[in-house]
């Protein structure tokens, strides 16, 4: 069975994304518009929560043949679910405290339900954790992550170490991924088979202790 490598038409991708949104229990597909152009998917419409927006984008991204995604979904909570900004901010502050693992400089400010994260983190995973904690909070419409990374020294063998991490990863074909490092900035080029693989490669690069920026230019070639 060799479907991989076969080019899918935009029409087939459109149908598959619609089916996947329909199939995804935490998404109300009727509210979401889907357009496809050369494998690039655009989602439009209004959803009632930020978690549903994330669920919808993930559903589209896992469909075979999807190469890129433009997320134009708007979160519009039902009138009964609208909370004041200060209530939401307080809930986020508590969630951070209870987790106990985030740097104390990381703060959330809320304006019209839109959450902005600021502060300084030692690692990219801490930023990801902060975003994850905010995402599921009632009333949050959007999350803007402006958390900065503490400066780091550059190192000699950065690209070699990242390449070794790519080789260890079962999901990746490291031969088709090229890593270049300039100081603490890393660029990934080449091809991967899916958007999930693209993300795995980027996370591997972020794990390096001498990296402050990852420019992910990997192309998806299913």
């Amino acid at each position: 069975m060799k479907t991989a490598g076969m080019q899918r038409t935009d029409h087939e991708i459109l149908q598959a994304v619609r089916d996947e949104l329909d199939w995804t229990p935490d998404v109300d597909a009727a509210r979401i518009g889907v357009a496809v152009d050369h494998g690039g998917v655009t989602l439009t419409g209004e959803v009632p929560s930020y978690t549903e927006r994330v669920a919808a984008t993930r559903a589209a991204l896992r469909v075979h043949g999807v190469l890129a995604l433009a997320d134009e979904l708007i979160v519009n909570p039902p009138a009964a679910g609208i909370l004041t900004d200060s209530t939401i901010a307080q809930a986020i502050e508590h969630a951070f405290e209870y987790a106990g693992t985030l740097p104390s400089t990381v703060k959330a400010t809320v304006s019209h339900g839109r959450v902005t994260l600021t502060g300084t983190a030692d690692w990219n995973y801490e930023r990801a954790q902060a975003r994850r904690l905010v995402r599921g909070i009632k009333g949050a419409r959007d999350v803007l992550d402006l958390i900065e990374l503490t400066p780091r020294a550059s190192a000699d063998a950065t690209s070699k170490r990242i390449h070794a991490a790519l080789l260890r990863n079962a999901a990746l074909d490291a031969q088709s991924i090229h890593v270049t490092a300039e100081g603490t900035r890393v660029k990934l080029t080449g091809t991967v088979r899916s958007i999930a693989e693209r993300r795995q490669a980027e996370l591997a690069a972020w794990a390096d202790p001498n990296v402050t920026a990852v420019d992910n230019q990997l192309l998806v070639a299913p």
Binding site: M1, K2, T3, A4, A16, D19, E20, W23, T24, P25, D26, S49, Y50, T51, E52, R62, V63, H64, G65, V66, A91, H94, A95, Y98, A99, G100, T101, W123, N124, Y125, Q129, R132, L133, G136, I137, K138, R161, A164, A165, L167, R168, N169, A170, A171, D173, R193, S194, I195, A196, Q200, A204, A207, D208, P209, P222
Partner: protein, 224 residues
Amino acid sequence: MTPSGTVVSDRQIQQHVQDELRWTPDVDAAGIGVAVEDGAVRLSGRVDSYIERVAAVRAALRVRGVSTLVDDLEVRRPVGGAVTDASIAEAMEHGLSWSTEVPATVQATVRDGVVTLRGEVDWDHQRAAARRIAEHVGGVREIRNRITLSLRASAEETASSVRRALRRNALLAGTDIHVAVTGTRVTLTGAVRTELARRQAISAAWGSPNVTAIEDRLTVTSDV
């Protein structure tokens, strides 16, 4: 460097898992023991938080050649008296009540750092969301997810609709998964390339409105 398709020795897998744990910034690899037998990895030792435990298991599972994993990790009891069962219960209450994903039917009880989740929900992803909330609370040492799914009717087309969902998935392209359905119980059999692909197959099956149980007989192998 081992090209995919060839067999990796247990010794190499052990080395790669240790390297990956060291490489993973949210894991303190020094406290973690790694043993490998026929591609099955056993992690033992102590970590500082439940979220670190989750990160360690994920790190090991993404390494090429790892087929299964036994998680014998323990989460250390927090030192000092700041974290108590009462404070964990308070954090769970806060997390559950503020969640957009978890219905109000879900309750958490805490004893000796062990969180037990109970209640009935309509979908598996709601159970998973409740578990994720517990994973992020400091002081949690163990999570018991006893949340049940509400009853569902069986349907003729369950097997074919699950198969279509598997076929749509980019990570499962070219893999051959057998889907068998008895009533509302689905059995998935076959080989997938990665742990990530295995998880996607299972969550694809949970998307069906006519499934209440999934038997996972999938194997992870780089030979697919």
